[in-house]
Structure formats: structure tokens, C-alpha cells
């Protein structure tokens, strides 16, 4: 699915946080390019996958420091933009879906108003037009009763519905790149598949690029085109998603092996043995002890 022109180029991305004892490196020299494809970014907690996604959108919270040799989106150097220009990109051209709709939706605003607001921020449109668009978008993410959901408050909708509303909100400005950080891990497995189908169709119909951040290897293997595996702030392996099960790196292999299987034999699961060498010379900041 990769096209010749890269939508996003990331080269030697570093994210550090000052700590009492020097700095903690959360991302340490990550490089990749993204076409109009579904790219999976896989790792466990503390691997730096979410921070990588946030760094692209300049959403790393202070005092975090981001630097990269190149951070280019559609020919535009993201590092050279001032805050105002970055705001114009954020949401409109690159948008981000977070994991949990419970914490990402405004609890005192109806779902529909939030989606309509997202539209009005990026387009000159009246309330009525924004409402119409928001209803269309709710229908596009397969919410059966858009009118009812439009007027519902976030606590009145289920998790799956809330996450679809979030996706509608992120998609209504028509972004070229969507960064989805564990967008479905709070959802039931069948709803998860339905939400993925929506994202999948948007990538193939609109030619959108998708960075799909997840801890779920099997899901990513079946959903994405390409997978980057992160460990300790680095990319340790890049694979075609369909060949993920032939991965070579011991970390990737370890992750695959420790998953329980429906058709497994119920014997003790192989436990991942972490090798300090995976972290290369630098400190072991991002790794968590089991």
C-alpha cells in the first residue's frame, strides 16, 4: 500500500525528560517513513511508542524535550513551524485518537456538539452546517441512531460508542494522517473489529495515512501493512505485518510466544527474558522490571 511519496518522515527522533539523576530518554533515535498505509507501532508500556506519536504532533508535555534530525510531514518541516502554524496542522491535517473515550471527551458537552465544534474550528461553517456534518460523520462511523447520540452526554454512551464518537471527531476535519494510540484496547473485541474496519476503509478510500499504536501484536499483524516493534525507546525490528510471525528479534519472538492461544495446550507460557543488550549501550530508563 506504500506509495512513492512519503507522507511523514521521521529521522533520529529523541525525546528526553529531565529527572533528578540526569535525563531519562523515552525515545532514542527512532527513524521511519510513512506512506498512505497502515503502520503499526508496537511495544509494551514504557517502550516509547505513545511518546513517539505525541512527539510528531508536538504534544510531549513539558519538561520533555524533543529533537530530530528530520521531522517532515507532506513536505513541511514540523520542527520549523511556530506554535500557530503547528495548531493549524494539528487536528486538521494530522489528528490523534486516544485510548479511552472516558478521558478524552468533554463530560459536560454533548457528543454531537463536540464533533460539530471540531468541524467549526477548522472550517468556516454555521451551527446548522456543522450539525449536519457531525450527524453525517456519526453515521459514517456506523452509529445507528446519530440523532440520539448527538444529543447524548459522554457518560450516556457505551465505550464503543464513545470511541466511535472520538474517531468521528478526529476525522471530521479530514486529516491526511491519523495517529491512533491504542484506539480500540478499551473496547470489546467485536466492537474493536468494527472500529478497525472504519479506519481501514478510511485509509483505502481517502488515502489517509495511519499510525496505529498498540501493544497487541496479533491485532497489528492482522490489521496493519507494516509493523515497527519498539523496545526501550528504540525500534528493534521492522516487519511486513503478514510476516510478523517470522520475526527474528528475540524481543519480538518473546512477545509472540508469551501470548496465550485459543488452540494452545494450556502449558506454562514461555516468559520473556529481557536481555540488557537490547537496550544497547545507553541506560535502561524506559524498561520496566517485571
Amino acid at each position: 500500500m506504500t506509495t512513492d511519496t512519503a507522507l511523514l518522515e521521521v529521522e533520529d527522533l529523541h525525546v528526553t525528560f529531565p529527572a533528578r539523576t540526569g535525563t531519562v530518554a523515552a525515545v532514542r533515535g527512532v527513524s521511519f517513513t510513512l506512506g498512505r498505509e497502515k503502520l503499526g507501532l508496537v511495544g509494551e508500556s514504557g517502550s516509547g511508542k505513545s511518546i513517539t506519536g505525541r512527539a510528531i504532533l508536538r504534544l510531549v508535555p513539558p519538561p520533555g524535550q524533543v529533537r530530530a534530525r528530520r521531522l517532515v510531514f507532506d513536505g513541511c518541516d514540523l520542527q520549523a513551524l511556530d506554535a500557530r502554524a503547528m495548531r493549524a496542522i494539528r487536528g486538521e491535517r494530522i489528528s490523534m485518537v486516544m485510548q479511552d473515550p472516558k478521558f478524552s471527551l468533554n463530560p459536560v458537552m454533548t457528543v454531537g456538539e463536540q464533533i460539530a465544534e471540531a468541524y467549526r474550528v477548522h472550517h468556516r461553517a454555521g451551527r446548522r452546517e456543522a450539525r449536519r456534518r457531525a450527524l453525517e460523520m456519526l453515521a459514517a462511523v456506523r452509529i445507528r441512531d446519530p440523532e440520539r447520540v448527538y444529543d447524548a452526554y459522554p457518560h450516556e454512551v457505551s465505550g464503543g460508542m464513545g470511541q466511535r464518537a472520538m474517531i468521528a471527531m478526529m476525522l471530521i476535519p479530514g486529516p491526511d494522517l491519523l495517529i491512533a494510540d491504542e484506539p480500540t484496547s478499551a473496547l470489546d473485541v467485536t466492537v474493536q473489529m468494527q472500529v478497525l474496519a472504519i479506519l481501514d476503509d478510511l485509509v483505502s478510500e481517502r488515502g489517509m495515512g495511519l499510525i496505529f499504536i498498540s501493544h497487541d501484536l496479533n491485532l497489528v499483524a492482522s490489521f496493519c501493512d507494516r509493523v515497527l516493534i519498539m523496545y526501550g525507546g528504540r525500534i528493534v525490528e521492522v516487519c511486513d505485518a503478514q510476516h510478523l510471525h517470522e520475526a527474528r528479534h528475540p524481543y519480538t519472538r518473546g512477545l509472540l510466544n508469551c501470548l496465550p492461544r485459543i488452540d494452545g495446550d494450556g502449558r506454562a507460557l514461555p516468559v520473556l527474558r529481557r536481555d540488557p543488550a537490547w537496550l544497547a549501550p545507553a541506560r535502561t530508563a524506559a524498561a520496566r522490571t517485571p
Binding site: H155, S158, M193, I262
Partner: protein
């Protein structure tokens, strides 16, 4: 559907018959569990699988005495459960919750967390028991005086398991015990639970949305949807891909990974989305 296994009924550790749980009253009442029945033999691991709102956790919470206003019949180790549970019940039955971040007191040390059940049940020898319990779950003595925020998610869940085990219960009710954990840590916690069960002959009820976790840990399972058990089967039947109910089939398909064409055939079994309040 009630337990069909007549041979296990005689030595059932847990029996649930026609369990109903209703939350709220009047027109806004939610009938969360609608006539659920099953039997779990001593030493068995029984899985309750379903999606959010299916009632699987509510069944577990009703057993644990954490839900009021249930109807039906529940027995544990031959004793019929009343509306309230006495201390002896909790000596026999303990529960491990999903969220190791929420289930440990943030301002209590591991030592205090583990000493509380010992004090409540007046077991004595707290010192020895705490040391033993920490060792059983693979945590060294250096963890004893730490606070939960000084532990990783996996370590916290081990503490939660230690807290349950310190009373030497016969039954553990496990509510999504690994779904908040990284997969590598999940493997360690599942191995730990499997070892403890083997060593102590524990009886487990494992509630999970993850079919693979249940298939790995259990011998039999019930699939729940909208408050009822739609199908009960052995894990061997599940592995053979033999589920009969369309809901179970769909769950199995979805659990095997993303398949664009399969998604279009999905039916919305949980009309729960049309209901008002989402509950996980």
C-alpha cells in the same frame, strides 16, 4: 442453560441456579443478570466469557457478596449463600480484581495491605504469613515495605494475589486479572495462577473478555451475552471450533484477529448500546 454435567454436580464447589441481578428500580431498572446457572467442581477452573455489559462480572460480584438485590440460589462448598456473607465465607472465597492500580490502598505499604486480612480473620503469625505470601507470588522480601506506586503493574497484581492467598482460601474469583497488564507480564501472572492452583488445588472462576486467556487457563467455560449464558462448553470443544451459538462463533472469529470481510457479517448481539448507561 444450567450445568449439564451431572457427574460434577455431586461434588460441586460452586453452584449457581437461576441467578437474577437487577440494578435500580422502576422503569430505569437494569436487569443485568437474567437466570444464570452453572456448576464448578472442586479444583476446576471455570471461565466466564463475554463482552462488557454481558453480566459476567456481575455474576462474580454476586457470588462474592458485592452486589445487593440478587435473586436465585447460590451455594459454595455446600452452604447456601444468604443476602450477607459472614467472615468465614471470605476465608474460603477471595477475589482478585482487574485493576491493580485501583484495588490496592495507595497509602498503605505492601506489609499493611497483607496484614489487614490476617488481622480481620485473627489468624495470627502475621509476620510469617506475609513473608510466605510474598514468596508464593514470587516477590522478594524487599517488596514488603514498598507502597503501590513504587511497584509496576505486574508486581501490584502479584500483591493483590498475595492478599487473596494469605487467607488460604479454596476458591479464587478472578475478575479480568491480567487485562491491565502487558502481555509479557500477563504470561507471568497466568503462570503464577496456574502454579498456585496446581499446588493448592484451588477452584477458580475466571472472568475475562479474552477468549485466549480463558482457553489457556480453564477446562470449561460459559459464554455470556446480555445477562444470560448463551452457551456452555468445554475448552476442548472451543478449540475444535465447535461452538454452536452464533454469538460464540462471532466472538471466536473476532478473537482470531482482524478480517475485513468477516466484520461486515457481524451482528450486534448486545443491544446494550441502545441502553443508557455503559458499564464495564
Amino acid at each position: 442453560m444450567t450445568g449439564t454435567m451431572a457427574e460434577t454436580a455431586s461434588k460441586a464447589m460452586i453452584e449457581v441456579d437461576d441467578l437474577h441481578v437487577t440494578f435500580g428500580r422502576g422503569p430505569r431498572a437494569t436487569h443485568a443478570v437474567r437466570g444464570v446457572g452453572f456448576r464448578v467442581a472442586a479444583g476446576e477452573s471455570y471461565g466466564l466469557v463475554g463482552e462488557s455489559g454481558s453480566g459476567k462480572s456481575t455474576v462474580l460480584r454476586a457470588l462474592a457478596g458485592l452486589v445487593e438485590g440478587w435473586r436465585g440460589r447460590m451455594t459454595v462448598a455446600g452452604r447456601v449463600l444468604g443476602p450477607r456473607r459472614e467472615a468465614a465465607f471470605y476465608k474460603l472465597v477471595q477475589m482478585v480484581f482487574q485493576d491493580p492500580y485501583g484495588s490496592l490502598h495507595p497509602r498503605h505499604t505492601v506489609e499493611r495491605i497483607l496484614s489487614e486480612p490476617v488481622a480481620i480473620h485473627r489468624l495470627g503469625a502475621a509476620d510469617r504469613r506475609i513473608e510466605q505470601a510474598l514468596g508464593d507470588v514470587g516477590l522478594g522480601p524487599q517488596f514488603r515495605y514498598r507502597y503501590p506506586h513504587q511497584l509496576s503493574g505486574g508486581q501490584r497484581q502479584r500483591v493483590a494475589i498475595a492478599r487473596a492467598l494469605i487467607l488460604e482460601p479454596k476458591i479464587l474469583l478472578l475478575d479480568e486479572p491480567t487485562s491491565a497488564l502487558d502481555v509479557s507480564i500477563q504470561a507471568e501472572v497466568l503462570n503464577l495462577l496456574a502454579r498456585l492452583k496446581r499446588e493448592r488445588g484451588l477452584t477458580y472462576i475466571l472472568v475475562s473478555h479474552n477468549l485466549a486467556v480463558v482457553a489457556h487457563m480453564c477446562t470449561r467455560l460459559a459464554v455470556m451475552n446480555r445477562g444470560t449464558i448463551v452457551e456452555e462448553m468445554t475448552v476442548a470443544q472451543l478449540r475444535r471450533g465447535a461452538p454452536r451459538h452464533p454469538y460464540t462463533k462471532q466472538l471466536l472469529t473476532a478473537s482470531r484477529g482482524y478480517d475485513r470481510t468477516a466484520v461486515d457479517a457481524f451482528i450486534d448481539f448486545a443491544e446494550a448500546e441502545a441502553g443508557s448507561i455503559a458499564r464495564t
